[in-house]
């Protein structure tokens, strides 16, 4: 196997080695959070976390657990670096983005530590490509201090129903208003566009609603431009959890099954629009 013909020296120097038989198990997930060029990679014994942020109001995290990788070796407790995500995705798809039946690109991702580039060994059909991508000083990801104890409202929905709603949303509306309440309308998405307003109501008894835990009535508005990136994650997912805390911060968690049926998570945090007008 060509990928194992590296020198033993290099092997000892890598602080992170992660291998996948199918690089799409990583690239598909990362495509859902490519709304900005740069991402921070954080590797811990739990697996890999990739973070992308926008204007301090939006943060997306992709979690690929250790179990997803065929090999995951970490020599330090925490390895983190910043990298150009667009370039990384281009490299992961270097053999062509389209999936051809029966073939897959194998990946071996190696990192020697601070100051070193990220090295990718990609192989398909006996052809090996080596990519070295420069890494940067990682910016500290924002900590939104979103913890379960502050969660006021939580619902878990099957993605199918939300996918349709999001595809029909009136894009002339600047904001998406989310209302969660223990009483009617339970869970409501509202837009205020040029021709009028629209409301999508999900009843708490809906069979699309897997979990409904709302303690207080909350209405928050979020900029449509900040929610748009999450629609890619929604498209990949089979379930989504929507939570708000007492500050109106929105947390969306998407459960995604990869090509091999394994579970990965995507998480989005979004700050509410400050100019909230009570209706």
């Amino acid at each position: 196997m060509p990928l194992s013909t590296q020198s033993q020296d290099d092997e000892e120097h890598y602080v992170l080695v992660a291998s996948l038989d199918n690089a799409r198990n990583l690239s598909n997930i990362l495509k859902a959070i490519t709304f900005k060029d740069h991402a921070v990679f954080t590797a811990t014994p739990n697996g890999l976390k990739v973070t992308v942020e926008d204007s301090k109001c939006l943060q997306a995290n992709a979690f690929i657990q250790t179990e997803i990788f065929q090999e995951f070796t970490l020599k330090e407790d925490l390895v983190t670096f910043q990298i150009n995500l667009t370039v990384l995705l281009d490299c992961l798809n270097i053999f062509g983005g389209n999936a051809v039946a029966g073939t897959s690109t194998a990946l071996r991702m190696c990192y020697k530590g601070y100051g070193y580039p990220l090295t990718l060994f990609l192989e398909e059909g006996g052809v090996v490509t080596v990519c070295k991508i420069n890494t940067q000083e990682p910016e500290e990801p924002m900590d939104f201090e979103f913890c379960s104890t502050n969660v006021t409202n939580k619902v878990i929905l099957q993605s199918e129903s939300l996918k349709e709603a999001f595809s029909e949303l009136d894009m002339t509306s600047d904001v998406l208003q989310i209302t969660m309440s223990p009483s009617q309308p339970y869970f409501r998405l509202s837009t205020f566009g040029n021709s009028g307003n629209a409301h999508y109501d999900y009843s708490k008894d809906s069979d699309m609603m897997e979990l409904f835990q709302c303690t207080m009535t909350q209405t928050n508005r979020y900029k449509m431009s900040l929610l748009k990136p999450s629609t890619k994650a929604l498209a990949l997912s089979c379930k989504v959890s929507v939570r708000t805390d007492n500050r109106g911060l929105l947390s969306q968690q998407y459960l995604v099954r990869n090509d091999d049926g394994q579970i990965c998570f995507l998480e989005f945090y979004c700050c509410p629009d400050e100019e909230v007008e009570e209706e």
Binding site: E164, A165, E168, P185, N194, G196, A198, Y200, S203, M208
Partner: protein
């Protein structure tokens, strides 16, 4: 006005909206005792479409104001197509998910409320702003047409599919022995590069074929295609009423639950575009169909309050939703007369003017002030009489 449409009919309603969106940018909503009328006209006033859904189509239908204290006047309104069409964009999704669709218009607010009650306990509510507007109606006496055909479902659709998508106009040619459709190109364009398509049918292909006068009419294809998509999906035979060039052609279908028709202006006989342009015409449509005689379309009050032409067809298909005979009131004719400009073009050109104007309410004595600018203002009084014998003073 409040009406409830049961699941599978919501798709039919959506198809009507799609067909109307191929005609114009605005949709007129007119609840009447006979049913809910949806109408649209294109910017050049060369195409008009009307869909009337009878009360039987709805699970529930009440066209008066819901609150007894409110005036019994119903609300007629105009919506932007770009606001309404997205709600019905995905017909397969509507078919799959919608259990009930409720449409209500309240005279006291500015909103048309369209609610979709979907499977899985999901409710979608759309509040659309509307503009209160008198109902729209084309004056077209289809029973006066000399030529009438009734084509089985799919026949016309199967014919027009052969024309390229970009084909703007087609020419329908009918004699007692033959019916044909061919593409139309303005003379002067390079004859070498074009592809001519012509399809002929024997009268036996039609359910009913009555051609008194040989005629060749040219009209816009785009609006007709939208209408034919609707009729094909319901497998309904299409009636065609037409006369000679310059007079409108009407395609219509009828069913227990609804009636639908599209009236298209046809090119006038004179080939030269110069002679067609009357003095003082404001022509601002981009479509070639502006050369066609513009349709007589006007807005009118509901329920016999003011004058309106009664348009019925002896063949059974009708453009008018109102069964009541309403004689035109004097002020109507006076107003029409005011907007007709004097004929200064050569007498040889056969031009028939059709006017577009909105009738104001009967309280408004100064009708002229309310009328929008006339788009094509040349008339031949003799032609008018022939066309609309009920209004001799026009």
């Amino acid at each position: 006005m409040k009406c409830v449409i049961e699941g599978k009919n919501a798709k039919v309603f959506g198809r009507a909206v799609h067909a109307l969106s191929r005609v114009g940018d605005e949709l007129w909503l007119d609840p009447t005792v006979k049913g809910l009328a949806l109408r649209s006209v294109n910017s050049a006033q060369s195409a008009y479409a009307c869909f009337i859904f009878s009360p039987l189509f709805f699970q529930q239908y009440s066209f008066m104001g819901c609150v007894p204290k409110q005036s019994s006047k119903t609300v007629k309104c105009k919506l932007l197509m770009k606001s309404l069409l997205p709600l019905f964009r995905c017909l397969t999704s509507i078919e799959r998910n919608v259990e009930r669709c409720q449409i209500s218009v309240s005279a006291s607010s500015d909103w048309v409320i369209i609610q979709f009650f979907c499977r899985h306990g999901i409710t979608k509510t759309h509040n659309l702003r509307f503009q209160e507007k008198e109902a729209l109606q084309a004056e077209f006496a289809s029973h006066l047409c000399t030529n009438v055909l009734k084509a089985p479902a799919r026949l016309l659709g199967d014919m027009v599919v052969h024309f390229p998508v970009f084909q703007e106009e087609i020419t329908l040619s009918a004699t007692p022995l033959r019916f044909s459709l061919r593409n139309y190109e303005e003379s002067g364009e390079s004859q070498v590069k074009m592809m001519y398509t012509e399809m002929s049918l024997h009268p036996e292909e039609f359910e009913y074929f009555h051609v008194d006068v040989n005629s060749e009419i040219t009209f816009c294809l785009k609006e007709l295609r939208g209408f034919l998509s609707f009729t094909e999906s319901h497998c309904l035979p299409v009636s065609v009423h037409f006369d000679s060039a310059g007079k409108p052609v009407c395609f219509s279908v009828e069913d227990v639950l609804f009636e639908a028709s599209v009236v298209l202006a046809t090119l006038m006989e004179s080939k030269s575009t110069d002679s067609i342009q009357p003095v003082g015409t404001q022509v601002h449509a981009t479509s070639r169909c502006v050369d066609a005689a513009a349709l007589r379309v006007h807005a009118c009050e509901g329920h016999g309050e003011t004058g309106r032409e009664r348009i019925t067809s002896s063949q059974g298909s009708t453009v008018s939703p109102h069964p009541d005979p309403i004689p035109p009131l004097p002020q109507t004719q006076q107003a029409n007369k005011e907007s007709i400009s004097v004929n200064t073009s050569p007498a040889s050109s056969m031009v028939c003017t059709l006017l577009f104007k909105a009738l104001s309410s009967e309280q408004d004595d100064n009708v002229c002030a309310a009328t929008p600018p006339v788009l094509a203002g040349y008339s031949d009084e003799e032609m008018m009489e022939e066309f609309c014998p009920k209004s001799p003073s026009l």
